[in-house]
Homo-oligomer: 309 residues x 4
């Protein structure tokens, strides 16, 4: 199988200070589809073109941030193999039973040296994208409800020990580094953009003193014009924008960073390129990382470096 | 490794009736980059964002059409394993020594039941995309020379026994069917769109009485506006257009089909979606395949069904 | 006043074979806004960014085609002056009292030598574009209801004596020829694209033996991506497409020609350029007019020349 | 004549601290076409789709800023009439002989109460847009040289007495106010966006204590994707960006503000809408003017208010 192992980012669970407001925001402003609520009070969403039941989950909490971030693997055998491989690599794992998350099978959870909870799972119910599997059109009405990203795309997480965290993903889980950033003063890599597919990133991690921090969850749009439409809808709804619309140098994607009302940053992302496993990684020096972040202006926005949840 | 086995379409070798004219066309109108010529007189090209030395090769011949179509696999061990797997599946293979194609390693060639020569190879020299691996910009000047596709993307090939051909790709080479078309009158699948990645297709095959036929080689553009630009440049250069600009229902991509002066069809393609191995395939019925081909008009263009080289 | 005299195309009244079906089509598929119905049973529409009460009016009839096409002039004094100028030029005019059309003042009507009824009027109630006149956003929700053109833009009408008709518009009504087409065999101009503004055309006329024919009413979109969206919605709703999506050589606009269920052609049009009164007109020869119609393919579609209502 | 009087912004003459560097910047980075140099050492440029000989003129000086801004009027009779009208309105005028600017006829110059030198002229040689007047294509190669705006579009000028300046343009020169901004604390209008056409603005003026200041000269692009391309080229050439890419609330246009090396701000602008003389103006309150400037973020950038040359 040419694609196997870890397939894709599958779910993010993020904490909200006001759940009702957040449901309104993620459903009607960002334009995800609400697909369910569980007994714990978590609310489940998906992007319009995702076939799995859920990809973005929120819950009420006193503090914003990320509970956990999960990846879908090919099948149960792969799940068991990767669990075993993680333990062999010295990473403690925990099994969370099927059904803990709605429509989701058993999950293998581990904590990275950066202080994040990552998960692997092999099963999540396919609910489809609202179009038939026979003679579908190119997009459903839902593709125009709110900002309407078609999928939850990746996460950028901040924490310590990113070099060690990267090793787990590259040596055990089959990811590879597509781009990375050298820290100031030759301190070694400060950020890794890693892929388990031929997307430019499925996960990015940045060195940061505090463990377990969320920089942003990214949602994908399919054109630069949709990025403008997202910007317009952010303006209409007075969503606080951090950076953008602009182009990243890193990954070449176009982007807007903005915050939900709880202070969690999210991204509406588009474009990029398709790297393959045989490609050498791209390096960004610290001096030029301003262009890596915001290619047109070259501005190393202070918020990028310091505002996380 | 989450991506392994067969990675991507790597080269197509196509026959031209007038090589000099074809070099001009593919270099200056389509806007590929010429990267070399070999002793046999073959001329090598690549798209601007491809890192390998070549992806599209042409030679002088009395008859247009496809010589062979090759896929890059992860590494030499994979190449040997797939060669062995092919033979175990009953497919005869042939080894073509390294150096037969410029900057390309040993190739494993086999003929499919549809009468096409397919190849696998593990090595082709990286020459890069004209931008540095340190602090690159988002695109080089070459991205605006001619139509300027960034890569050779896939092929659509016509021949008999597509069901059997599909089995080789899905059972041995790790491809999967992403979309397929039911033939008229319940005759069974007439076309398969297969992926070895999370592109909607890396190879498509259509049932056709004559073996070994080329329907088109597809080149990728990165926006619908670039598709318009391609259309403008085709108009300026009086390139004969078959269909488009329009949107395919199949794969959702936007497209122009046109012909080179030798009569080989090529495509400038953009967009589509990102299917994963766990996704169920999409079926097109014959009655609605007009919309599969040309979603806006629903027209089942006669040329699509009958004009091949 | 730098802009005066005739300001813009203001209304088209078109006949439908099935009014209910047509209301559904123009309101929910094309995405105009229904603004009223009069005692005669006419149904009034406007594009989302038009401020006047109506611009496109339909009525039930046994035969498709155009009843009349009207232009808004600056004010009542201008209306009276142009009426007088028309009569001085030998063109008979008729006054239609205010209130005959909903929310519309007195109209001055004349028949052109091409057999079309044209109108001038100075008053039509401003109803706005659904956004406030204080601190408006860039677009309202209505901009995404159906294909959602923002305005009725121009008409292309077929009939005899276009050279004489052109003279009325250029010598009396302040229009100028922006582009024109030479007929086959040096027969003189066969088509005139005329502007009363700095749009490339507010009215186009083509020589044709039958008088009073409608080729199409054109509706404006604001990006090539919206033209693709229009194409997608036409595919979804099985709207019969004549030509496109493509680019016109004439005016450089991007376009789709399609038909309503009564057989009236309409256009979804975008782009073009901004000519000024001092610019020399552009000429298209008959030999190259295929590129004038459909720049990429250069195809002189037979339907363009022969299908009118 | 439906369009008459003042037709369009025709030329801006701007001062540069380093002429050679500025020639390089405006020719190769912004992508204007150099069309000549005069005895005074001024260098003349035009946008690729302008037909007049020049629209943007630079000269060496010790201080950046605007020398004068000119409008092309319909013809010599109009020029004389407007000169007479200006004097009748109490505005002193001066005649600058034909030939003072290259390929440009006699100019009527006046100083506005805001301290700017404005000019009217009726004659500037047509040199064309590089495409033939018979069977032209949609764009020439020059449309991709540098950022490649197709025209010099408008100016935004800062100075005192904008209400009085506005009266000259609206009461004498046939302009009308399309949008305006109320100053803080009910101080009356602080900015007027005025049109002599059906563009949303041909000239904008903002109240400011110092006379004769230049906020920016604006250059027009024809798609949001070209705005991204402009942003990429600014990043590549390390052009200092002030704001954008983003959307203005005022005029709805998309934009980037940036500075040349002399500190003169310029804009790459796209989109907007087409207002007519009968439309009521749009008002922006001071409280919401942040969204008027930068619709997505709502940020009232300090540089917009304070950095001028």
């Amino acid at each position: 199988m040419a694609m196997s192992g870890v397939m894709r980012p599958g779910h993010a669970c993020v904490r909200m200070l006001d759940l009702d407001e957040a449901v309104h925001f993620y459903r009607d402003v960002l334009g995800l589809q609400e697909t369910g609520r569980d007994k714990q009070g978590r609310v489940y969403f998906k992007g319009w073109d995702e076939r799995d039941h859920n990809s973005f989950v929120i819950r009420q909490a006193d503090k914003a941030g990320l509970d956990f971030f999960g990846f879908r693997v090919l099948d149960v055998a792969t799940l068991n193999k990767l669990d075993s491989d993680l333990r062999a690599f010295g990473v403690a794992t925990e099994r969370i039973p099927a059904g803990d998350m709605l429509e989701t099978g058993e999950r293998v959870r581990f904590e990275s040296p950066s202080g994040h909870l990552y998960e692997l799972y092999a099963e999540k119910t396919h609910v489809g994208n609202g179009m038939p599997l026979v003679n579908p059109g190119p997009w459903p009405d839902a593709a125009e409800h709110g900002i309407a990203p078609f999928r939850m795309d990746h996460a950028l997480l901040y924490g310590p020990n990113v070099a060690k965290t990267k090793e787990i993903f590259t040596q055990v889980l089959g990811f590879r580094v597509v781009e990375y950033v050298e820290g100031p003063g030759g301190a070694g890599p400060a950020a890794f953009f890693m892929s388990c597919s031929h997307k430019a990133h499925d996960l990015a991690i940045v060195e940061y003193p505090e463990p377990g921090k969320l920089h942003h969850i990214s949602f994908r749009l399919d054109s630069w014009e949709k990025v403008l439409r997202a910007a317009d809808l952010m303006g209409r709804n007075k969503v606080p924008i951090d950076i953008g619309p602009t182009r990243h140098g890193v990954t070449r994607g176009t982007t807007i960073y903005a915050w939900d009302r709880s202070g969690n940053r999210f991204e509406t992302f588009c474009g990029s390129y398709e790297p393959y496993p045989d490609w050498q990684p791209i390096k960004w020096t610290w001096e030029e990382f301003g262009h890596g972040l915001d290619y047109p202006t070259g501005k190393l926005h202070e918020t990028f470096l310091s505002v996380v949840t």
